[in-house]
Amino acid sequence: MSESSYHLRLVERILLYVKESYHGLYSLALLHDMPAVIGAEKPPRVRGFVPDVYAVDAPLTTMIIGEAKTSQDLLTEHSLKQIGAFLSHLEGQKRGVFVLSVPWQAARRGQSLVTSICRTRGIDQTKVELVILDGVKREARR
């Protein structure tokens, strides 16, 4: 499977998770970057980066940003800045949720990466709900 197809599968995993887990919020506005009909709504730019998935409620109670990373692009400089920007943005929300979808082999690395970014940037980890989707089991913590 090509890198881009694999990335799409990881994004699909986030969409499925958001739809299943937040159904109780009588459905959020869910925007994603999957190939769809021409002119479909894409997620907005968040602090300079466009996430793979962006879900929000209005009036604002919950904001979810989802990002899919293959093993190859998880630890790049771009990913560090991108994930840092998303976490900083979510920290200021009433309820911010960051969903990181990675291959199962990279789940631990993903979790460590997020923790390390939070520490470096001084982000209060209790203010962002973190969900790691690895296709095997979901790890979530507050």
Binding site: Y26, A29, L30, L31, V37, E41, A58, P59
Partner: protein, 341 residues
């Protein structure tokens, strides 16, 4: 002058296959002129999709209407049909709706698409047809003001508990716009209403200031400068932010200590005067919009990647702000309907 008979219509459910699409419809005529022979229903359908019909001039409105009809299970407003002297039924108004019904029927889309509600006129003359087209397309219905629209959307969302996708399907628009309007309404009610002395002075025309507040970076800029959204509401109420599109300048004003002081004392219009003005050469000042647009396109294409990345990563930065302001102005110039101006 229209005959008396043509002024009386009856409301019927008419078989869609019996009604002919109006190929002389002014909006699609320009597309159909490319076909030497009588256009087929498919060609008319394509032309309607390209031109839009019941709404703004874009294929997006065609999609919106299609989704709205599918969600509702039919149309709410009947189409207008004229029965001509030879018995032929021609759609005078509502060609897109009729074309969609025909398409749904042909494609076996789930639902009842064989009959369409129609106001049926007998042998309408040209003057009457023109009068209807003018009233529908040039005068149109009176749109709701943005505050009332947002209030209604808020109710659908918070009381009727409709999902976003359903609201968008019913009323058209985009999810982001719906979210923005609902949030703007919620902010206005939460922060603006409490500071108004009495309900009599609650000015709904200030609503667009709260819509502007939803744009990226605005709330962050207010918070980072040590203010609250109640302060923002006070600025709107006290006309510190007037005209309301001055809200767009707020991040730059609040970041500049001198401009911020002037703003708090005399308002945004005075504050922008002290913001750094670009030192424009005569060549730039004398260039017209077309030349400037070409120059900016070339400059962007020639921009090194790190520089572009820097702009993206600093949405509150000077360059990003200037680009956003230019983008808003350009969009308003080219497509005013999307900016509400």
């Amino acid at each position: 002058m229209a005959s008396a008979a043509s002024n009386v219509a009856s409301l019927r459910f008419v078989p869609v296959e019996d009604i002919h699409l109006d190929v002389s419809n002014p909006r699609i005529r320009k597309f159909l002129e490319h076909y030497p022979d009588e256009p087929t229903p498919e060609q008319v359908f394509l032309a309607l999709g390209a031109a839009g019909d019941d709404g703004d001039d874009s294929s997006t409105s065609f999609e919106k209407l299609k989704n709205s009809i599918l969600t509702n299970g039919g149309i709410i407003q009947p189409i207008i049909v004229s029965r001509q002297k030879d018995g032929r039924l021609v759609c005078i108004e509502g060609n897109t709706r009729l074309a969609l019904y025909k398409n749904f029927l042909r494609e076996n889309v789930k639902g009842d698409w064989a009959l369409i509600p129609a106001l049926l006129y007998e042998d309408m003359d040209e003057a009457r047809i023109d009068a209807i087209r003018l009233q529908v397309h040039l005068v149109g219905t009176r749109p709701w003001d943005p505050y009332s629209k947002a209030k209604y959307l808020y109710r659908l969302r918070t009381q009727e508990l409709l999902p976003f996708s359903e609201i968008v399907d019913y009323c058209g628009g985009r999810q982001k716009e719906v979210v923005e309007l609902i949030q703007a309404y919620a902010d206005m009610e939460e922060y603006y209403r409490p500071i108004i002395p009495d309900d009599g002075t609650f000015d709904t025309t200030r609503f667009s200031g709260f819509v502007e507040l939803q744009k990226p970076g605005l709330k962050k800029a207010v918070a980072e400068a040590g203010f609250t959204l109640t302060n923002f509401a006070e600025w709107i109420y006290g006309e510190k932010l007037y005209p309301l599109n001055m809200v767009r300048w707020l991040p730059r004003i609040l970041r500049n200590p001198k401009a911020r002081d002037i703003f708090l004392k005399d308002g945004a219009r005075a504050a922008v005067q002290v913001l750094e003005k670009p030192d424009l050469s005569n060549a730039l000042l004398e260039a017209n919009v077309s030349q400037l647009a070409q120059a900016i396109t070339q400059a962007i294409y020639a921009m090194p990647w790190p520089e572009a990345e820097k702009i993206r990563q600093e949405p509150g930065g000077q360059t990003a702000q200037c680009l956003n302001e230019a983008l808003i102005a350009l969009t308003a110039l080219i497509n005013p309907s999307t900016t509400g101006q």
